[in-house]
């Protein structure tokens, strides 16, 4: 059966846009951003799609990836239109309307976010008009067109954020509060450690005297924080590229400035630098110095203790590492490994398919891993190619350290290496609050790397 693809307003991508096959995927589709909605306390996604789409995206992100749990309103709770032949042939807007109506009767949430899958986006359902009908009745519902062929859950994440900002937060022309910052950083759920990491980042920002709209995760205040977005002094984009589009939009919409720092700080060196840069931008430098000094005291007490192991362990520690992760973690962990653990990069691979316009800047960040260490980053999403690259890397005569995902299990065995599952999918990890960033997370990461190393032959 052929159904005509309806014309869309926003035009088609150019013929240059091409993508090859992907084996062992390392992200979900744009509708995976259902879990972006579910990452906001008391927000529930409504998925308008085929019967299997929702299950696949949330199982991948929330189960096979650290067994994080789908959240209060995500996972198996999320309503789904489970489109059939009927919705494909006659369109699915009636079905969506019926579903939203029933959802409002059954579920009790602060906000519902309709995300669409391939079917409605292909048959041309006017989802906007259905949702606007509910909005005009005052129902807390927004919609985001996230059909799976449009991109991955990273780009879907920005579509969902924008939908909430434009359709729920709305216009604002009041004052801005000095010291209040909106944080745009890691991708919830995709990043296995997002909850713990966001918690640590919040602790750091509060430590230097800021107040944070964290927006996602158990440490966030839910939609009250989203409503407060326009009041913030500025937006902090703490990631190589994710969040930039949202920050640019907020700048345009509310005249709100943003600070972009590509590096999520891991370890004391990076944390000190990044916090000083943020503090200078926000005008809270003095507080920052005291906080950094106190954190460093604790951090280096532990590093000192660790040095007894690091300098005396007799059975071989890794000297070189390969990493395959999304741009944010690849950059953050590589810098930590190089600058603070004294490891050398053997292969650096970014797997989240960053839009073309950001790639040069990301590559430049990797070139400047340290004053004496240059890195060359590769952008690959197909695990077969990724494994070929890691296999051909020079690890010297020490066991390779591989920072990757479950897909690298077999490869790590083959190379007799040490595998740390730090990227999606991390199916041999159970992760709740654990974090790898900031001061505390860096210590945890170090513990895990070397526990894995020493237990390798157990």
């Amino acid at each position: 059966m052929v159904v005509a693809l309806k014309e869309r307003g926003d035009g088609l991508p150019g013929a240059a846009e091409q993508s090859g096959p992907i084996e062992q995927l390392r992200y979900a589709c744009s509708m995976g951003a259902m879990q972006t909605a579910a990452a906001i306390p008391r927000v529930i996604p409504i998925t308008h799609c085929g019967p299997g789409c929702s299950d696949k995206q949330h199982n991948a992100l929330t189960a096979a990836n650290g067994y994080q749990g789908g959240g209060w309103g995500g996972g198996g709770v999320a309503p789904s239109s489970n489109a059939t032949q009927r919705e494909v042939i006659f369109g699915g807007t009636d079905r969506l309307e019926e579903l939203i109506e029933a959802t409002l009767k059954i579920l009790d949430a602060d906000l519902f976010v309709v995300v669409t899958g391939c079917i409605p986006d292909l048959v041309g359902d006017d989802v906007g008009s259905v949702v606007r009908g509910f909005q005009s009745r005052g129902a807390p519902v927004v919609y985001a067109e996230t059909g799976g062929f449009r991109g991955n859950n990273f780009t879907g994440h920005e579509i969902v954020a924008r939908a909430i900002i434009d359709q729920f937060v709305g216009a604002y022309d009041g004052e801005r509060e000095p010291g209040l910052v909106n944080l745009w950083s890691l991708l919830p759920y995709q990043n296995t450690f997002w909850r713990g990491d966001l918690g640590e980042i919040k602790r750091l920002l509060e430590g230097i005297g800021l107040r944070v709209n964290l927006l996602f995760g158990p440490d966030s205040g839910g939609i009250a924080e989203w409503k407060a977005i326009p009041r913030a002094q500025f937006n902090l984009v703490l990631s190589p590229w994710l969040g930039l589009e949202t920050a640019a939009h907020l700048q345009e919409k509310y005249g709100q400035p943003f600070l972009h720092i590509p590096l999520i700080p891991v370890g004391a060196k990076a944390a000190g630098e990044v916090l000083r840069e943020i503090a200078a931008f926000a005008g809270v430098s003095e507080r920052a110095e005291a906080f950094i000094a106190a954190e460093e005291r604790t951090y280096y007490t532990y590093i000192e203790a660790f040095s007894e192991f690091y300098s005396q362990y007799r059975w071989g520690l890794p000297a070189r590492f390969a990493i395959a992760a999304d741009a944010a973690y690849a950059l953050a962990l590589s810098k930590f490994a190089v600058r603070q653990l004294g490891l050398l990069p053997a292969r650096l691979i970014v797997t989240d398919n960053p839009p073309g316009e950001y790639r040069d800047a990301i590559a430049a960040e990797f070139r400047a891993l340290d004053h004496d260490t240059e890195g060359t980053v590769e952008f690959l999403e197909d695990s077969y190619l990724i494994h070929q690259q890691i296999r051909s890397a020079a690890f010297g005569h020490k066991p390779p350290l591989i920072l990757g995902s479950t897909w690298e299990r077999d490869l790590a065995k083959e190379l007799k290496g040490v595998l740390m599952e730090i990227a999606f999918p991390a199916s041999y990890e159970v992760v709740l609050t654990r974090s790898n960033v900031g001061y505390r997370g860096a210590i945890t990461l170090l513990e895990r790397i070397y526990s894995t190393t020493v237990s390798r032959t157990a």
Binding site: P13, P21, I22, L25, D55, A60, A64, V77
Partner: protein
């Protein structure tokens, strides 16, 4: 109810069998009566044109389920020397990580080398939605062949390719000629069937059409096809007792094992939801007899199942001896377990015929089972053999189930269903519902290993596992005291899980 292997796409379950996904009129006996292997409830409102016609509820509120493509993915990527190509945008392939954990764990259970499962997505994007994805499909098949040198390539279609109308059949045929191995298109667009089990039929249809040997040279009189899901191999030792060899398919099978299915003496399974199409088609098209018996659960079911295999393969004497030995071994242990499990109430929630079997085992252990949720219902299986009426067997052997419900794995309904019966524990297969039971303080026994409850040993397995799971009660009760559900008070007070559906037709 003849099976048609001439068309590339399989007929859906609802077309072939009259499958329904929502029914809540009371007891198991009533549903069995309405199905009665093709009589129907009399109202004639079902969609089936070949199976019986049952009345089906339709709710305006639904939560995510699963799709045929998801099932095909699990099945095809579990064939050891084949590669799966998922012809779809990347999201349909998002099940790969979950699938891979199943694959790796099953390899370990079966004592095979643990490795990743193999599947490639054609990774269709917006541009392909406009210009079509056939070129990408052919390139991906070639790439799969270059990379892994497989004995066959399976293609799973998706909603998107179904809608844009890619000619997958021709595309597959062309590359097949080029590379010289079977390239098998499996049509499994999620929107085409309301129940994911159509995915079993779709992959089996493809295997029957293009892999199974059309003209088997010799019959292997001691070979029995066993249609399995991922789990421990309990079959090889069991069949060895009868002097038979088990050909385990499709899970962790090789292409050679699939080819020789037509040479086997018989085909059998532990789950007729899964095996309905395969065994019927093997009999109809290849003359391999389908074992017509109840499923192997509990003493009576297992006895009958083994005896039917014995009859088909002329091994009655050894089989009777084996049955006697197993009864003598297992009965005393079951007696002990019954003592320990006395007074407990269980609830079963899983795929249809598997549930029918598990209820039988629970009752064998003396556990009260006042309620069961099956994720769909087939009023008949493909062969139409009355010996295979699994629901009927359950009722006849062990008595009625008072609250018998067909519902497609809906989190919100599970709340009201559990309120009806207030069980001590849940036995479940599939993710999604256990977390709700947890928040109500109920432990769940997840049947990840499909072989776990079957046969004589299965009665012991299940009993021991229940005892272990009851220990988790403390965890769940503590959780229940500290968690909330996202449902409105009005829904939590609702007694009828299908209230919305019934209001919609009232």
């Amino acid at each position: 109810m003849a099976i048609n292997l001439r068309t590339a796409a399989v007929e859906t379950r609802e077309q072939r069998l009259g499958t329904i996904t929502a029914w809540d009129e009371g007891t198991a006996a009533k549903l069995a009566e309405q199905s009665e292997y093709s009589r129907g409830c009399g109202a004639g409102c079902g969609v089936g044109n070949k199976g019986s016609k049952l009345c089906e509820l339709e709710s305006p509120f639904t939560q995510g389920g699963s799709c045929a493509e998801q099932v095909v993915q699990g099945q095809a990527s579990g064939i050891l020397d084949a590669v799966l190509v998922q012809h779809s945008p990347i999201g349909c392939a998002a099940n790969q990580p979950m699938n891979n954990t199943n694959f790796r764990n099953t390899l370990a259970r079966r004592g095979m080398a643990v490795r990743n499962s193999l599947a490639l997505s054609t990774n269709l994007t917006e541009r392909d939605m406009v210009y079509g994805g056939v070129e990408k499909l052919q390139e991906t098949i070639r790439e799969a062949y270059r990379r892994h040198n497989p004995k066959a390539v399976f293609i799973a279609t998706s909603c998107a390719t179904g809608i844009i109308g890619d000619d997958v059949e021709t595309a597959a045929r062309e590359v097949q000629e080029e590379i010289g191995i079977p390239v098998v298109p499996v049509f499994c667009e999620g929107f085409k069937s309301k129940h994911w089990s159509t995915g079993f039929d779709a992959i089996q249809h493809g295997v029957l059409r293009q892999i199974v040997k059309k003209n088997p040279g010799k019959k292997q009189e001691d070979l029995v096809n066993i249609i399995i899901l991922s789990g421990t191999d309990v079959y090889t030792p069991m069949l060895a007792e009868l002097g038979l060899r088990a050909n385990l398919v499709l899970n962790l099978a090789t292409i050679e094992q699939l080819e020789q299915m037509s040479e086997a003496a018989a085909s059998v399974s532990f789950c007729y939801t899964l095996a309905s199409y395969f065994t019927a088609a093997l009999e109809q098209e290849f003359g391999v007899p389908e074992i017509k018996a109840p499923q192997p659960y509990g003493f009576a079911g297992t006895d009958a199942w083994l005896r039917a295999i014995a009859r088909a393969t002329n091994r009655e004497e050894v089989t009777e001896a084996y049955i006697a030995r197993e009864h003598a071994r297992v009965r005393p242990i079951v007696e002990e377990l019954r003592e320990q499990l006395k007074g407990l109430t269980g609830y079963v929630a899983m795929g249809a015929s598997f549930a029918h079997g598990v209820v039988v085992v629970l009752r064998e252990l003396g556990i009260d089972v006042p309620g069961t949720l099956v994720f769909h219902h087939d009023p008949v299986y493909d062969s139409g053999a009355p010996e295979r009426d699994t629901l009927g067997h359950l009722v006849e052997e062990t008595g009625d189930v008072e609250n018998f419900t067909v519902g497609i794995r809906q989190h919100y309904q599970f709340y009201n269903l559990l309120q009806r019966v207030n069980p001590d524990f849940i036995v479940i297969r599939h993710g999604g519902l256990s977390p709700l039971a947890s928040r109500l303080g109920k432990p769940s026994l997840q049947l990840g290993d499909a072989s776990f409850p079957l046969g004589y040993q299965g009665i012991i397995n299940l009993g021991a596992e229940i005892l272990a799971v009851l220990g988790q009660k403390k965890f769940h009760e503590d959780l229940a005291a500290h968690s909330s559900l996202p449902y409105r008070r009005s829904w939590l007070d609702e007694k009828d899980p299908f209230a919305l559906a019934r209001a919609a037709v009232a």
